[in-house]
Symmetry: C2
Subunit: 214 residues, 2 copies
């Protein structure tokens, strides 16, 4: 398998954790999101991924896009260890936590949106920073409320076993810290991320451990 990735991309980070948890080796193909005006926008890469975003996973003849679709694919093709619980209700809980990050927070705060705000809307940097903070803090506040009150939460989102929820939380927490967000109001989220980061599969997926880390 070959993974097109950028060390700091949250979505690529999720897939790297999944590959590590499944014990799957892969070739790492770096796509630099800033260099050359964004290597993800070059025709060669867009032939694989028309959205011009990372990650893309190539597995034989299959070209797979969208991190959560890739992770569900890996879970179906390599079932052990499972990244989702067994019962439909618990699966819905885990998936909904993953999607609270992947659909409500990350899409508003990723690089291309911040670039559009700066260059097209032409907002000053403090407005852009406030935008970033608002969506992370709004999203984390409601996620914290859900997780703090849910008995299924253990060391990680669902008991002590890594699931796709943790795969989304860890990169978002990394990203929030990088932008200087105070995580004290979200102790459950922070605890889950810190516990997950103790695990080898998460540690090896961290941005600083990637071949294209700067």
């Amino acid at each position: 398998m070959k993974l097109y990735s950028y060390f700091r991309s949250s979505a690529a980070y999720r897939v790297r954790i999944a590959l590590n948890l499944k014990g799957l080796g892969y070739d790492y193909e770096a796509v630099h999101l800033l260099r050359d005006g964004g290597q993800q926008l070059k025709p060669e890469y867009r032939a694989l991924n028309p959205d011009g975003i990372v990650p893309t996973l190539v597995d034989g003849d299959d070209v797979l896009t969208q991190s959560l679709a890739i992770i569900e694919y890996l879970d179906e093709t390599h079932p052990e260890p499972p990244l989702l619980p067994r019962g439909p209700s618990d699966r819905a809980f885990v998936r909904s936590v993953a999607m609270q990050v992947a659909c409500e927070i990350h899409p508003l705060d990723n690089l291309r949106v911040l670039k559009y705000l700066k260059h097209q809307v032409k907002v000053p940097d403090e407005t852009k920073d406030a935008w970033y903070r608002y969506w992370v803090e709004t999203g984390f506040a409601s996620l914290e409320k859900r997780l703090a009150g849910d008995k299924r939460v253990g060391k990680l989102t669902f008991g002590d076993t890594p699931t796709i929820a943790d795969l989304c939380i860890v990169p978002q927490v990394f990203n929030a810290r990088r932008f200087g967000i105070d995580l004290a109001p979200y102790p459950t989220i922070e605890r889950i991320a810190d516990n997950a980061n103790q695990l080898d599969a998460f540690e090896r997926a961290a941005p600083a451990q990637q071949p294209d880390a700067e």
Copy 2:
């Protein structure tokens, strides 16, 4: 089951289609996103859904949030007719199309983001409209490119059978038309939406058919 919905919400619309395809009856609980400063922000609703967004599906003791997590839950608890193909590669294709809409387009163009742009960033209406257009047109352009070149596409995204991809495309096309987006550059997307809308389950889920339609 009880569905908390707003007639025009794309995410609620997806779940209504899924419930109809599965032949499941449900109580409709309207949550007006504009009235009273937004009924979704009231404490009673946020006790169910801390994000303060629709939909929420209550099934017995389970309170389910995030439309795609709800739809996967319905597909697991009521397998017929399936909303995903059988093979992992085809499932990844369908899920990734759904997520291209649900993670790359819709989160940037929903009501709360447009409200934040207007009231917090204080952009003029034409900047807000340009923002809406940009993310729909950017997302549709790359989705069109993928779909137009994929042999799996039939009358609908995956052959002629409705999948979660169609459940995401139809509401996004409805929304784009409402905002006056020209769909001529995206003939495959438009054709899929028009074909899906011929089906009873899609037609009954349309905003105009809901009890809270205006």
